[in-house]
Symmetry: C2
Subunit: 282 residues, 2 copies
């Protein structure tokens, strides 16, 4: 069962199933919405709330029926405070209504009732900031993220855990050895595999950079593998296959700059997104 | 030079100096603003935007001239979307104007221009969400937080890095061994010590739970040590001294529930805060 383009997603499917269905139609590409000063300037926009709104409206128009997944980078909206969040929540609602899977790239991480607060903010149906999935950070222990896994399970939302990122400072933390002798990145992936165990693709995912040298084994993850670092940062489909192995069908390569640099024309943005979506087809 | 109560803080002092000055007058207590459903219910408020506003107004009235540090838990405002952030930013502005040091407990962590977005959101003078300090998470590598350290240095703001938290899931990550054989928690504290090196207390701080069993050595940190877990969670001043050693003067024990449970009366909240502030005096 696939989710027709232009129609709100079927909530009876897991997040993993919804991703596979939409990727089968449009390719697995995730386009990042990263309205930082440099991109707004490039598009001839002012770096202020008006510029943010215009960037976002244009991006929504371009990507609402073009790509499988859109990933707003929450920091760039947060920088404008409450007014920025209003722009973000309107954009997420519009994209979701069109059937796009929206991943709020928030990298939230906390414990107990505080983590439940973040889970509610991003995954609770009817919440102003409701997304289809949210990225989360496991510094406080993967299982401190239980409230977000719980809400993901309850509503078939996605919880995407940072495992192995591609920035140069990442190995200093993520390749550290746990008490059981594995790397932290691998421990995250192994725990996600447990959470996703079952016949159906699960609601939990991982973030693994497409340029990481020492990748965790991803065969058992059974959920979305969000892979930043493709395009401007140098990652290729060969990297995606090398890193994901058997799990490559779960990979959603994320391109931000290399698509956004083609704006502000809607047609140019769509053409770039379609080109990447086809190139990155598994 | 101390910062008089009821007067906006002197921005020529480092965040560490401002904390020591204000703690000398009011005690080192940090009161957490944690408007979760249970607290609102206890105060006879509805768990909605109106309840959130009334909780926050009451807390601002109670703590604006009573305690050294107030720490809003961002998740509970984020749960209400843009409207919740509006409540938060108004409260932070009012508290800061009264001279309170406001730590936005946001636990943000990302890389590159995205981290710069978070730094700008919370630490840039004039930003809608401007705080005195923000908590940050080092899962992507301590040095991925460079933009927040940079803005902290530029404006004498605080950047408080999660080092060793007191939740049961924390050791699985934070006691992992780095490539140089130390624990991750210790590696965070050592890097903060380098960033704060100098004669004056620095702008960077660490979060270390008052109930951690295996604490990193904090002697060289030379900046705020934010210590949750005191009060309802069982941490005591003896724990603070055991954990901080020579650095105990930098400790800001954080109490949330045990103070908030005394509400909604402003006088009762103030009495509870003053009692803890005196008890927790180093």
């Amino acid at each position: 069962m696939t989710t027709p383009v232009g129609q709100a997603a079927d909530q009876s499917q897991t997040f993993g199933e919804r991703f596979l269905a939409r990727a089968a139609e449009l390719g697995p590409l995730c386009v990042g919405l990263d309205p930082h000063a440099h991109i707004l300037e490039r598009w001839g926009l002012s770096y202020d709330l008006d510029g943010l709104k215009e960037f976002t409206d244009t991006a929504v128009a371009a990507f609402r029926d073009t790509v499988a997944v859109v990933k707003p980078q929450v920091a760039f909206y947060e920088a404008f405070g409450a007014a920025g969040f209003e722009v973000l929540q309107n954009a997420m609602a519009e994209l979701r209504e069109a059937g796009v899977l929206v991943i709020a790239d928030a990298k939230r991480g906390d414990i107990g009732s505080t983590m439940a607060g973040y889970a509610s903010a991003w995954l609770r149906p009817g919440s102003p900031l409701e997304a289809d999935a949210v990225t989360v950070s496991p510094w406080l222990g993967v299982d401190s993220l239980a409230p977000v896994f719980g809400l993901a399970a309850a509503y078939n939302k996605g919880a995407i855990v940072l495992a192995a990122t591609s920035n140069p400072e990442a190995p200093s933390v993520q390749l550290s050895q746990t008490q059981s002798g594995t790397t932290l990145a691998q421990a995250v992936c192994d725990r996600v595999a447990e959470l996703n165990a079952g016949d159906k693709p699960g609601n939990v995912g991982v973030v693994v950079g497409a340029t990481v040298e020492k990748s965790p084994v991803l065969d058992q993850v059974n959920g979305m593998i969000l892979m930043p670092g493709v395009g401007a940062q140098g990652g290729t489909m060969a990297d995606v296959r090398r890193i994901c192995g058997e799990a490559a069908r779960f990979a959603s390569p994320n391109v931000s700059r290399a698509v956004l640099n083609e704006g502000p024309g809607v047609e140019e943005l769509q053409a770039a997104a379609r080109r990447f979506a086809a190139e990155l087809q598994v």
